[in-house]
C-alpha cells in the first residue's frame, strides 16, 4: 500500500510541477469565463440604430417613429412612387427601405402579402421580426378600429407576453424551469467530462508508453506488482485531473462573479438613469436575469456528480488506455487499439443532441446506464433533474464497469509492458488474458 502511495505521489507531483499544467490551469478559467461573459458583453454593447426609409402608401404605420434600434423615416407617398423612392434609398446612407403598397380595394390582406423590405446588405432576422411585429400590431389596430371599437380601448390593447416556464418537481414546489440554461449547462457539463476523460486517459496511456520506451518498467516491477504500478499511475493522474478541475471551478466562478458584478453595476446605473428620465419602469438588465436563472440550477449537485462521474469514467477509460499503452512500443502504434476504446466516448458526444432534446427519453435513459457512455450522458441529463434511483443505479453500474475494466486491463498490462518489438494483434491480447500471474 505504501508503495502505491509513492507511485501516486510521483505521478502527481511530476505532472503538477510541469509548466504546461500551470499554464492550462491559469488560462483555462480565463477562457471559460470569457466564453460565458463574451455573449452577454456583446449583447449589451450599444448598437447604432438602423435607419429605415418607409414608403407607406397605405398609411398603415401611422408615422410610427420606430424604436431605439430602428428609426423609421417616411417618404411622402403622394410625391414619390416606388422606383423613385428606391433610387433615393440607394443613394442615401439608410440601411433598409420598407414599401407598403395600397391595394386598390383597400383590403388589408393585400398589404400583408405584398409589403416589400429592401436592405443594403442582407436583412437581418431581427429587423424582419421587428417590422412584421410592428405591422401586425398596426393592422390589428386598424381592423379593430374598422370594426368600430373605441380608439381608447384599441390603444390599450398591446399584449406583451413573456412566458414563465415551470416544471413540476416531485414535491409540492414548482421549480422555475429554464430550459435554455439547462440545455447549455447539460451540454457544457457533458462536453467537459468528455474532454477531461479523454485528456487524462490519454495521459495515462502516454505515461505507460513512456515507462516502456524508457525501459524503466522492468526496474520498477521488480519492486512493485504491475497492478500496483498501473493503479498508482491511474490514481495519481486522476488526482491531477481533480485538482485542475477544482482550481478551474473556483477560478472560473471567481472571475465570472467579478466580471458580472462589474458589468451588472454598469447596467444598473443606466437602468436607473432610464427610469429617472422616462419615469417608467426600466427592464431588468439581461445579465441580472441570466444570473438569477443560473442560480436556479442545483450547482452543488452538478459539481459533485461531475466529480463522481469523472472519477468513474476516468478509471474506466484510464485503465483501458493503460492497457493500450502497454501493448505497443510507441505512440504511433496505438491507432489500431485506440479506435474501439474511443468509439463509445465519441458515440456519447454524438448522442448528446438527442439527449438534450429529450432528457427523459429511452435513449437518454439507456445511454446513461451503460458505463461506457454514462458519465457523459448522465452529466447532460442532470441539470434537467434525474430520479435518485437512476443516479444511484448509473453510479453503481459505472463502479462495476471500472472494476471490470481495471481487472481486464491489469491482465493485458502485466504481459504487455514486458513485450518489445512485437506487433501485437487482438488474438495476442486475448491470449495474454489467460496467462498465469
Amino acid at each position: 500500500m505504501n508503495k502505491i502511495l509513492l507511485i501516486i505521489q510521483r505521478e502527481f507531483s511530476s505532472r503538477v510541477r510541469k509548466k504546461s499544467f500551470l499554464v492550462m490551469t491559469i488560462i483555462g478559467p480565463i477562457l471559460f469565463a470569457g466564453l460565458m461573459i463574451a455573449p452577454i458583453l456583446l449583447a449589451s454593447l450599444p448598437e447604432g440604430p438602423k435607419k429605415i426609409w418607409v414608403l407607406d402608401e397605405a398609411y398603415i404605420l401611422d408615422h410610427d417613429k420606430g424604436s431605439s434600434n430602428y428609426t423609421l423615416n417616411y417618404f411622402p407617398p403622394d410625391e414619390l412612387d416606388l422606383d423613385a423612392a428606391k433610387t433615393v434609398f440607394e443613394e442615401s446612407e439608410y440601411d433598409a427601405f420598407l414599401y407598403i403598397p395600397l391595394s386598390e380595394t383597400g383590403a388589408l390582406d393585400y398589404i400583408q402579402r405584398n409589403t416589400l423590405l429592401y436592405g443594403k446588405k442582407n436583412v437581418s432576422l431581427n429587423m424582419e421580426g421587428y417590422i412584421s411585429k410592428l405591422m401586425e400590431g398596426k393592422i390589428a389596430n386598424k381592423l379593430l378600429l374598422d370594426l368600430g371599437v373605441n380608439p381608447e380601448v384599441v390603444a390599450q390593447v398591446k399584449p406583451n407576453v413573456s412566458l414563465k416556464k415551470f416544471s413540476l418537481g416531485e414535491g409540492e414546489n414548482a421549480q422555475e424551469s429554464n430550459t435554455e440554461i439547462k440545455m447549455i449547462t447539460g451540454y457544457t457539463a457533458g462536453f467537459f467530462i468528455y474532454f477531461f476523460i479523454f485528456l487524462y486517459s490519454a495521459q495515462v496511456m502516454r505515461g505507460v508508453i513512456e515507462e516502456k520506451s524508457n525501459r524503466i518498467i522492468e526496474v520498477i516491477i521488480s519492486s512493485v506488482r504491475p497492478f500496483q504500478l498501473m493503479m498508482g499511475k491511474i490514481i495519481g493522474i486522476g488526482s491531477v485531473g481533480i485538482l485542475q478541475f477544482i482550481i478551474w471551478v473556483v477560478l472560473s466562478l471567481g472571475l465570472f462573479q467579478g466580471a458580472s458584478h462589474f458589468l451588472l453595476k454598469d447596467q444598473m446605473d443606466t437602468a436607473t438613469m432610464v427610469e429617472a428620465k422616462t419615469g417608467g419602469v426600466a427592464e431588468v438588465p439581461e445579465i441580472a436575469q441570466f444570473q438569477e436563472r443560473l442560480e436556479s440550477l442545483n450547482f452543488p449537485l452538478i459539481l459533485s456528480t461531475f466529480l463522481v462521474f469523472f472519477l468513474g469514467g476516468f478509471f474506466l477509460y484510464g485503465s483501458l488506455f493503460a492497457a493500450v499503452g502497454s501493448a505497443v512500443d510507441n505512440e504511433t502504434d496505438t491507432q489500431q487499439f485506440m479506435l474501439p476504446v474511443t468509439i463509445p466516448l465519441i458515440l456519447a458526444i454524438v448522442m448528446a443532441t438527442n439527449v438534450i432534446e429529450n432528457p427523459d427519453g429511452p435513449i437518454a435513459f439507456w445511454f446513461s446506464m451503460i458505463p461506457l457512455t454514462s458519465p457523459i450522458i448522465m452529466m447532460i441529463r442532470i441539470p434537467f433533474g434525474v430520479a435518485p434511483w437512476e443516479l444511484a443505479l448509473s453510479i453503481g453500474l459505472l463502479i462495476g464497469g471500472f472494476i471490470f475494466t481495471t481487472w481486464l486491463a491489469g491482465k493485458i498490462y502485466r504481459t504487455g509492458i514486458l513485450m518489445y518489438g512485437k506487433k501485437v494483434s487482438y488474438k495476442e491480447l486475448y491470449k495474454w488474458l489467460k496467462y498465469k500471474g
Partner: protein
Amino acid sequence: MQKPTIEASNVSKAYQGHTALDGLSIQIPKGSIYGLLGPNGAGKTTFIRLLNQITAPDSGHILFDGEPLKPSDVQRIGYLPEERGLYKKMKVGEQAMYLARLKGLSDSQAREKLKYWFEKFEIGPWWNKKIEELSKGMAQKIQFITTVLHDPELLIFDEPFSGFDPINTNLIKAEIQELRKNGATVIFSTHRMESVEEICDHIALINQSKKVLEGSVEKIRNDYRSHRYVISGIPATDALEFPPNIVKESAKTMKGHVSLTVKVNEEVSTNQLIQTLLPQMEIHDFKEVIPSVNDIFIQRVQGKSQE
C-alpha cells in the same frame, strides 16, 4: 553446509506456443558469483523474472534462503534488467530516491545510502540534473547505484555489460567483488560467456529451456580438460621423441625455435610431460590449453545434437 541462496527445483514455465523453462533445477550457493549462461532465448531472462516474481512458474518451486519466495523478498533482491532505463525528465536525485523508496527504504535511509554512493562514485554534482542531460555512461552508474542501494542479499544482473563502456565495466566488476565480499550473492546472466568467465565461481549453462551443465568453474574446466599443451622453446635434439601416451599434433620450426602442440592421454600428468620434455629442449613457454566456457558450451550443445 550453508543453505543455498536460491534453490530452484523442477521449475517450468510455458508461454502460449513455446516452453521458456522445462524442469529447471538450480542451486545458487550463498556468497557465490554465479554465471547463468546460454544463448539468447534459452530461458535465462524467464528464470530471472521468476526470481523477481515478475511472473510465476507454472510448476516447480523456488526457495530463497530455504524459504519459498514471498512478495516481500523483492526488497532483498537487487535487479538490473537487460532492458533498463530511467525516467528522462526526472532529476537524478529524485529518481534515485524514488527507486530506493520503492525498494522499501525510508526517506532518511535512502538519502543516507545515496549520499554514500554518490560520494563513492564522485557524482554528487549530478543530483539536480535531469537524466536526459547525462551521458549514457553516467546514466549507467545511476542504474548500478539504484540496483545495489538497498544492500540486497541477492544481486541479479541480466546482460550487465552490454552497453557499458570499458571504464564502467571495470568499475562495476570491482564493486561487485566488494559486494560479494560483504556477503551478497551475485547472479550474472549473459550470452557472452567469455565476459564473466573470469569473475564467476559457479556457472550453469542453459540451452533450449533446459540446464545443460552446472558446477564450479574449476570443476567444469577439470571435467572438460582437453589434455592439450602448447609448448615453445629451443630443441636440444633434431627430432623430439615422445612415448606412445603423448602424441605430437603439430610442430613448427622457425630459426631453430620450435612451437608444438601435444595431446596426452588422461593418465599423463603435467609433470610427467615436463619430465619427458626437459632433456630434449629448453622450454620457453609451457601452457595447458584450457577450454573456455564458450568451447565447453559448444561442445556440450553440439555433442547433444549429435547423439
